[in-house]
Symmetry: C5
Subunit: 102 residues, 5 copies
């Protein structure tokens, strides 16, 4: 198990796939990055050729963090941002071998 | 297990039933879709002939995301929106065969 | 397991007891009902003769939904509302027989 | 398992210890009590001689409820309030004997 | 298992490592400390030489608490604050020896 975090920047989709280690990624928190724009930044997730789904909408000076509860396993997903400020994602990875259960 | 997401559009109830695969759907997040209306959009859920139950109320420019914790298994439910802007739902599906426990 | 939801109306306490089926009720979401009052509606819970405990406070146009994490098993409880607008409660029921664990 | 709730009043720390029954207390929700003060009320927790730690900060007319996720077992803790309005705490107690796991 | 809490002060990163006891730290809540600054305070987490990741952003008089869901095990992490007011973190520690599962 370990802490997991990425910064998803506007215009730069972040793919996620657990390449080497079998396990489950738990994404539990989204926080707005620094910046001057006062417009919302929306986090979205794309799987394959399906339409992207919004995961949260962060509003500068109003709601800058959002708890999430997402789990990913053996999937190729891509996180991206609609808006001008980046979104930080945090969570943790649990490898399959142990008998750990959330 | 896999990411699950749908966009529920106004005036178009979205039924959910796990047709082919036995398992549990975990719906964990609701996010307001894009649009110009500044009125609230409410997500509701109907089961059979019972009155619909509100699941969350999203307020443009104030509260545009909401964590949920709902589980569905072997049920026919319908999600719908009261309001003018769509609501994106996200979560994940866990098939029964594994020994996975949330 | 199944979706569970009720609407708690002002002045009309809603008792809950799992009569026929042994199991656990998970109440995970509260959402403000429709109405014109702009005052807060508070959800409270009473068990036996103890003083009622507030579970959440919903503010029209500000915070109209609230995640909860409550579990009830073999108890007689009563939900009621302090305020003028109803509160919708949602969650799910898990029967005892399976080996399901949350 | 059973519903658990207390009202923590200003100036009156509330100790908690599971005296008679071995088990775990899950504290999952804090809600602001009634009152006229518009200042924040902060919930804090003290264990032994350590400095108290803030658990949540409730703002009248803005954020009057807060989900928590705290677990206490075989500990003497004291909840107290910084501010003028009380804070209601809700959750549930799970006795050790069963094989229940959260 | 036991309550865990620290206050992370500006300019003073707080390392965390479970030195003596094997187990998992669950960090579940962040609350803004007292102070006069009305600017946001951001909690961030650093692991090794990677860029710090934002975990939440607290806004005085608007959003002063934030639920988290982070788990740390056998890792050296450092929490720090971007901003002028401290952030209190709360959660609990579960030692490995028991058969406790969250």
């Amino acid at each position: 198990m370990g802490f997991w975090g990425i910064e998803v920047k506007p215009g730069k989709p972040q793919p996620y796939h657990s390449d080497n280690v079998e396990g489950t990624l738990f994404v539990t928190q989204a926080t707005l990055g620094l910046g001057k724009s006062t417009d919302r930044s929306i986090l979205q997730c794309s799987v394959g050729h399906k339409s992207p789904i919004f995961l949260c909408s962060l509003l500068p000076e109003k709601t800058e963090s959002c708890p999430l509860k997402l789990e990913f396993k053996d999937e190729l997903v891509a996180f991206s941002v609609v808006g001008k400020r980046s979104i930080h994602l945090a969570g943790y990875f649990v490898a399959d071998e142990g008998d750990y259960r959330l």
